[in-house]
């Protein structure tokens, strides 16, 4: 019976506690949903436009400025795409150090998202700052974990935000063994806090909701893929990253500055922590798998709100992975290898919010001729709107304010980065 549907308009002018700027519009008429849109009004900065004509060795530093919460992901992806274009080989040591930087950043990003953006929703506060006096322990956990993870970027990269040591071909300065030991000691200290974070996040009352979709992630033999691997989906897709542009396409939509990404069949898909959980939970560390078993999450988990739980799992797993990497890296002196060659290159990595693609064409003088970037939030844009539609249908009998809050929670669960998505 359609009688339970009450016509209403839900509108959030400028959604708070997300990275970047968006408006949410939901119109429900007497016969059902008439309109659901995420009006991403974040102003475009035209990175793909102004990268044309820039030198290959500027690209990493410039694209880092796409995002203040995942700069290392953009930087690493760009460096790898430029290296792919120019045929630059990197050393196994560079590969490990980049993995360390990227995993630390995934963990740091999830920590900020869960504590600052998500928890206020579930505890009924407008933001994290007003929560602090009543949640002293959580505040301390947040700051300590964030500080420990920032230290990885700060020590190896020079600074946590927009690091400077990462360049085409390697690192301009290498950490000492003692540096790595000091980082390991700090992460050891906060590891129990990651467990507490998981308990906290897995204990929240999430809306009972499921949405079937295709989960997409990088997968690689032998490790939880972050910076390399094949594109793999929960529906059996397996693709070399160089075939990215033949399988995915972006569409400009009139209501948003961000483009929407679809598979070649025109269907939406999900990327990010939950997608990674569904595609490669078997590659978590054993301790994380135990945690997952104890939590009784269904697998595959099709509740997008549980992306928050998947992020909490990755905080713990990421810290374990940082500790492993810190124990196996024995820095040996080497200089970044750079040589200019014309060509086209592509890289796909796992940023905190999911798959991130950069591709460039470099000319024989080393300048960019063409640039294309697709960010996790562009990948998730279509499925976010689709899930919002399903959510409004499922909870159409809710009071308006309650439903509006659920919509906001759902958007935040995806951990969208609208600055990235528009770029």
């Amino acid at each position: 019976m359609a009688t339970s549907i009450s016509p209403r308009n839900i509108k959030v002018d400028y959604l708070s506690r997300v990275e970047g700027e968006t408006e949410l519009i939901v119109k429900v008429g007497a016969t059902g949903i008439e309109d659901i849109r995420l009006k991403i009004f974040e102003p475009p900065r035209f990175f793909e436009g102004f990268l044309v004509g820039r030198r290959f060795d500027e690209v990493g530093d410039i694209v880092s400025r796409i995002c203040g919460i995942c700069p290392i992901s953009h930087m690493t992806t760009a460096l790898q795409a430029v290296e792919d274009a120019m045929g630059v080989e990197i050393s196994p040591q560079t590969r490990l150090l980049r993995r360390l930087m990227c995993v630390a950043q995934i963990v740091a990003s999830h920590i900020v998202h869960l504590y600052v953006f998500v928890l206020p929703d579930y505890f009924g506060f407008p933001g994290f700052v007003p929560m602090m006096p009543k949640f002293k322990e959580e505040t301390a956990s947040f700051l300590q974990m964030k500080e420990a993870m920032n230290r990885v970027g700060a020590l190896i990269g020079g600074r946590a935000l927009h690091p400077v040591s990462m360049v085409v071909g390697g690192f301009t300065k290498l950490p000492s063994r003692q540096d790595l030991d000091s980082l390991a000691a700090e992460i050891e200290k906060v590891l129990p806090l990651a467990l507490r974070t998981f308990d906290l996040l897995s204990g929240l009352a999430y809306p009972d909701f499921a949405c079937r979709t295709e989960y997409m992630a990088l997968r690689k033999y032998g490790e939880y893929a972050v910076n390399d691997g094949s594109l793999v989906s929960s529906r059996g897709l397996e693709l070399d990253i160089h075939q990215y542009s033949s399988h995915f396409h972006e569409k400009q939509v009139p209501h948003a500055m961000a483009k929407k990404s679809f598979t070649s069949q025109g269907s939406p898909f999900m990327v990010g922590a939950l997608a990674r959980l569904n595609v490669k939970f078997d590659q978590y560390h054993d301790e994380t798998k135990e945690l997952l078993c104890g939590s009784k999450l269904p697998l595959p988990d099709e509740n997008p709100f549980h992306n928050n739980i998947a992020q909490a799992l990755e905080i713990y797993d990421g810290m374990l992975e940082c500790l492993r990497l810190l124990s196996v890296i024995h820095p040996e002196k080497e200089r970044p290898s750079q040589r200019v060659r014309e060509g086209e290159g592509v890289a796909v990595t796992e940023a905190p919010r999911g798959l991130l693609m950069h591709s460039y064409r470099i000319n024989r003088k080393g300048f960019v001729e063409k640039a294309n970037l697709v960010t996790p939030t562009s990948h998730n844009f279509a499925v976010m709107e689709e899930d919002l539609r399903a959510l409004v249908n499922r909870y159409s009998a809710d009071e308006e304010e309650v439903l509006k809050m659920k919509c906001e929670k759902l958007i935040r669960a995806y951990d969208p980065c609208f600055s990235c998505s528009v770029h």
Partner: protein, 258 residues
């Protein structure tokens, strides 16, 4: 003690400066007791956009008319207004597009331009008077601490006003410009980072923007003498502050800055 009313506004940028602010507590745990975040969309719901503010911090370059309109309203409702970070201070990375015709840049990204309402990226002080600059990309923590503590003590903040070279010499680094023949922007770039890039074996790329009255032209000519191509030199001076006169004087010998 009375709480100072703080407003934080984001324009075209990566939001990294706001993230820096969120961890400010680690410097002085009591700071938040003296600050009331009246408006900050990224940190809280339901803020008061209209103010009034004791201090308004602006991050991001201005690239849309609506942003400029709001900026003027904020100025009138704020005792202090400061741009934070290179985008707001100097136009930053978004201003790399400025020397290219706007429509050409837009067409490289979007097929349908009917919904795009962008303009050249400008610094905040192109539209409203400001009470100081918190430079850096991301903004420097030292200047941020100086600003917040000055506010609480009711005094004018004092910011760095000398070149990265000074910090580099104090650190005892080998000069990357003279000794390694690399195009270091240190001599014309404002200090505050602690000579980060030279300390990591690479030339400064100028992300803090120009030091006041820097002689970028002389440095640009020096780069040419060292064998760098006009295109490379042009890129050097247009990466983080292509709106600022000092850096433009270095770039304009080797390319069109407007």
């Amino acid at each position: 003690m009375k709480k100072h009313r703080l407003g934080i506004f984001k324009y075209s940028c990566c939001a990294g400066c706001e993230f820096q602010l969120l961890y400010f507590q680690k410097h002085i745990a009591e700071t938040f007791d003296h600050l009331e975040i009246v408006y900050c969309q990224m940190a809280r719901s339901g803020g008061v956009e209209e103010g009034p503010f004791d201090i308004a911090l602006i991050e991001g370059a201005v690239t849309q008319a609506e942003q400029a309109d709001q900026l003027k309203r904020i100025r009138e409702r704020s005792r202090w207004l400061l741009p934070i970070g290179s985008c707001a201070v100097n136009g930053g990375v978004p201003a790399i597009k400025n020397p290219t015709v706007e429509m050409e840049v837009e067409k490289r990204v979007y097929r349908d331009l009917s919904t795009i309402h962008s303009m050249k990226a400008q610094a905040v002080d192109a539209f409203v008077p400001v009470d100081g600059y918190i430079k850096g990309c991301p903004m420097g923590e030292r200047d941020l601490v100086e600003m917040v503590t000055s506010l609480m003590q009711g005094k004018r903040p004092r910011f760095f006003n000398y070149a990265v070279c000074v910090e580099c010499k104090l650190k005892g680094n080998l000069c990357v410009l003279v000794a390694r023949n690399e195009p270091c922007m240190g001599p014309v770039t404002n200090a505050g980072c602690g000579a980060l890039c030279p300390s990591y074996n690479r030339p400064c790329y100028g992300c803090w923007g120009p030091m006041e009255d820097a002689n970028a032209q002389a440095l640009a000519v020096q780069f040419e003498r060292m064998g760098y191509s006009p295109e490379e030199i042009f890129c050097r001076f247009t990466q983080y502050a292509s709106t600022k006169a000092e850096f433009r004087r270095g770039a304009e010998i080797y390319g069109n800055v407007d």
